[in-house]
């Protein structure tokens, strides 16, 4: 086999002094799918940014197709046939999907004017070819994150790359979409392309990768054929110790309903009914899981429950009070916490420090402030404690969120939302981008909250997660609840599938 890319002894130090890559070396064979795995903050994204010309390493070299290369910018890398799908999406929010897809290679009429028809045509063609559906005439900023991810993937595929880097592409995709993506990736491989694939879902790694490189704390721990390793072994290599998973028994006491939704309707700005007479209850001590293909109303439902969006009609009763149309502050005051779907948009202020991010819902309360003044001493110690409790890899509570790795940003959000003693937890993709070790931690915390009497409303694109955590499950399709499962014992993804795809519905 040919080596297409040789990474030799890469060392990367960030301006804040964090050494993210400590001498990384491995080879990538042409025509393979090579997975890169490691804990949050291990240095995966950093290494990929170096390959793609976004970051410059202090030491080491990269040999691409037999030649030593030094990409100065992504443009350089793209010219050489390298494409990258970023962990945190980098599309132009004010442009349409078609414009984003063809950015830099846009078709023109008489070499001057943008040829919008042709643009849409190209967009339609690739979208069909690769089985990733996108609304090509909508502005990117109006799209949910999963759709944006699809756009980003298509954008890379459209550019006819030889080496495609995918940084956690499936974190925001539904299992069906992931499967489609994997089919595409295998096709690409057949056509001689090479793919670097980053994921925290080890099942996926086993499913499609030929080779696996594990990195831990900026160093390569192993590079092996995927067939040589089990999921469990990969996980242990990642964390460097044995992992034992413990099952927590379902909560014995289910109490009063804390979250009740009655006949909720929502018609969006474009006059499309997105939610149609949705009713459900979540009781104290239970986790209600929502299964469904993304884009069937989950995002809107969560935003309505948490006050970010106004419903059209219906009731949302939380802790006995009608909260429909109330502000996020009023809803949070009533005991609700919210892990948002899109952490970069809603979950954090990147340019602020970790501690400032941790108090956004509670800065005005004692003991975080007294009178009109904030108590920074208390807040700093509080920040230190949450960083430790939630296993956030950070230099201090004063570090900027923008200096954290993707998974660690997610942990900051989770730390804030699960530490406020909420009675209702609205968790939308709570473990998005989080590594195996911390995934367990987050799940354990959700279960503990449940056992302490909270009601948890869980939305996840990951069916396994829904099945593992939920006390009860509802399936959302096209804005309606099409099935309810009050007993999840023995339930599998196969049972839910037909409902999620709208082929079947309960009477």
């Amino acid at each position: 086999m040919d080596t297409i890319l040789s990474i030799r002894n890469i060392v990367k130090v960030y301006p804040n002094g964090v050494v993210a890559n400590k001498g990384i070396s491995f080879d990538i064979e042409k025509n393979t799918i090579h997975a890169l795995v490691g804990e949050n903050g291990a240095g995966k994204t950093t290494l990929m940014k170096i390959l793609f010309g976004i970051e410059t390493p202090q030491e080491g070299e990269i040999i691409y197709k037999g030649k030593k290369v030094h990409f100065k910018s992504p443009l350089d890398a793209i010219k050489n046939g390298i494409g990258m799908v970023h962990q945190h999406l980098m599309l132009a929010p004010d442009l349409t999907v078609a414009e984003n897809l063809t950015l830099g290679i846009e078709p023109r009429k008489w070499k001057i004017f943008l040829d919008t028809d042709k643009m849409n045509e190209i967009a339609k063609r690739v979208s069909k070819e690769f089985g990733l559906e996108v609304p090509f005439d909508k502005r990117v900023k109006d799209l949910p994150i999963g759709v944006r991810q699809r756009v980003e993937i298509l954008k890379a595929l459209l550019r006819n790359v030889e080496l495609l880097i995918l940084d956690e592409p499936t974190a925001v995709l539904t299992p069906q979409e992931s499967d489609m993506l994997f089919k595409t990736l295998k096709d690409l491989k057949k056509h001689g392309k090479t793919i670097i694939f980053i994921s925290h879902k080890l099942k996926e790694v086993k499913q499609i990768a030929d080779r696996v490189t594990v990195i831990r704390d900026g160093k390569v721990i192993a590079t092996k054929d995927a067939s040589e390793l089990t999921e469990h072994q990969i996980a242990e290599l990642m964390v460097g110790r044995e992992i034992k998973s413990e099952r927590i028994a379902p909560s014995p006491k289910v109490g009063e309903p804390l979250l009740e939704v009655e006949n909720l309707d929502y018609i969006n700005e474009e006059n499309i009914p997105v939610l149609k007479s949705v009713s459900f209850k979540v009781r104290s001590g239970e986790i209600l899981g929502v299964a469904g293909v993304e884009g069937n109303g989950q995002t809107e439902l969560v935003e309505i429950l948490t006050g970010l969006r106004r419903l059209t009609s219906g009731k949302v009763i939380i802790n006995g009070k009608d909260m429909a149309g109330k502000t996020p502050r009023e809803i949070r005051e009533n005991g609700v916490s919210h892990i948002p779907e899109d952490r970069m948009k809603n979950g954090v202020a990147e340019a602020a420090t970790i501690k400032e991010n941790l108090i956004v819902d509670r800065y005005y309360k004692k003991p975080f402030s007294k009178g009109i003044l904030l108590d920074w001493k208390y807040i700093t110690n509080y920040g230190k404690k949450l960083i430790k409790d939630f296993n956030v890899l950070a230099t201090s509570p004063d570090a900027l969120v923008s200096s954290l790795s993707g998974g660690n940003i997610q942990k900051v959000v989770v730390a804030r939302e699960l530490s406020s003693n909420p009675s209702v937890i609205v968790a939308d993709q709570p473990i998005r981008g989080i590594d195996v070790g911390s995934e367990e931690l987050v799940h354990r915390l959700l279960k503990e909250a449940r056992d302490k009497g909270s009601a948890v409303f869980l939305v996840s694109a990951d069916l396994d997660e829904v099945l593992e955590l939920s006390t009860r499950i509802i399936v959302l399709y096209n804005g309606e609840i099409v099935a309810r499962f009050d007993d999840v014992g023995g339930l599998t993804g196969k049972d839910l599938g037909p409902y999620m795809l709208g082929v079947k519905r309960e009477e």
Binding site: G17, L308, P328, R329, A349, V360, L374
Partner: protein
């Protein structure tokens, strides 16, 4: 050593920028002036050569500092309100009118007049604020337009209703003595307002970094969606940041009238709002840094005046030199490569220590 460079990098960068700026000024002066040595001395040391000139630096810095503080608050909320020029002007004009109409006991007088001028500025900040919050009208445009309205309205009020016809110029009547801010250092015009400006800077610092509303303002500035999600009333913050900024601008305008001129004499808008934007940018919208930025700009101005008066360098060149220095300081990327190399060496050394320790 390198550790310290990192810690104080921003300060060091500013000092180096100033040195380079001065070096360029030297070159320019050498080319233009017939006696470059003397001219240079006037420019660089002019402001410290006499007590009255040193006083000038502080007097000049005062309205600029008020302007900078007024800019920093909406800017921290990512509200690009640039209406400070109008707020200062109208605050001073209507404040003067207020002082001339209502006479009060001495101990209340100055405070009431300043407070009134502040309210005028606040009201002027409220308009773009509410337009933005309610109807998404771009505050940059609306506040810029309002500057003209403020200017002509202020001019009208003074020239048609409070003009001192006995004075040889277009100026208002003199304020009663009780409304003056006392000049307390003989040989200079340094007045109570200079102290007041410093007090305001410290208050604004505490406000932005230690109060709840300050926190809200900064979070809205970082990410509006995040602030809303966290429960902050973004609408309120957008409006209040501009109202509070306006208040400070209005006070600043009136302080200048009460401290220096003792009557309203601005037939042209004085430009403190624009200077305020410059020092707010140099000072990264941080009130304490803005104090130094304002002093620095004032020093340049006074040095320029001395140079202009005492040498053959024309005032246009003085402005050019001033601008070059400011440009260098505001260039963010300047020297960042250097900082980066030091960081890398520091990190490498720490790694080595770690390795050998374990």
């Amino acid at each position: 050593m390198e550790k310290y460079i990192l810690k104080y990098f921003d300060a060091i960068r500013t000092i180096i920028a100033i040195l380079i700026g001065i070096f360029i000024s030297i070159l320019v002066i050498y080319i233009i002036s017939k006696s470059p040595g003397g001219s240079l001395r006037y420019f660089l040391l002019g402001p410290v050569l006499s007590k009255s000139r040193l006083g000038n630096v502080f007097e000049t810095a005062t309205p600029i500092l008020f302007g900078g503080l007024a800019v920093s608050i909406p800017f921290q909320a990512a509200q690009f309100n640039i209406g400070q020029e109008g707020e200062i002007y109208l605050g001073a004009a209507l404040g003067t009118a207020f002082a001339l109409v209502f006479h009060m006991p001495a101990f209340l007088y100055a405070a009431m007049v300043l407070f009134f001028a502040g309210l005028i500025g606040a009201g002027w900040g409220y308009i773009p604020g509410i337009l933005k919050a309610k109807w998404k009208v771009d505050e940059l445009v609306s506040s810029l337009m309002l500057n003209y309205v403020a200017y002509f309205f202020g001019l009208y009020v003074i020239n048609y209703h409070f003009r001192d016809k006995k004075a040889g110029f277009l100026v208002s009547y003199q304020l009663p003595k009780a409304a003056w801010l006392k000049q307390f250092i003989p040989g200079t015009r340094i007045h109570i307002g200079v102290i007041l400006a410093l007090v305001f800077a410290i208050l604004v610092y505490y406000f932005l970094y230690h109060t709840k509303l300050g926190y809200e303002i900064r979070m809205v500035g970082f990410n509006r969606h995040f602030a809303r999600y966290g429960g902050i009333n973004v609408f309120k913050v957008i409006v209040l940041s501009q109202v509070i900024g306006g208040f400070i601008a209005g006070v600043g305008g009136m302080v200048e009238v009460m401290g220096i001129h003792h009557r309203f004499n601005w037939q042209m808008s004085p430009g403190y709002g624009w200077d305020g934007i410059v020092v707010a940018i140099i000072g990264h919208n941080h009130p304490i840094l803005i104090i130094f930025a304002a002093l620095f700009l004032a020093y340049l101005r006074v040095g320029g005046q001395v140079l202009n008066l005492m040498s053959d360098v024309p005032s246009e060149m003085v402005t050019v030199i001033e601008s070059i220095i400011i440009l260098l300081i505001t260039a963010e990327a300047f020297l960042s490569q250097w900082k980066y190399r030091i960081t890398v060496r520091e990190a490498a050394r720490k790694e080595e220590l770690n390795e050998s320790a374990s």
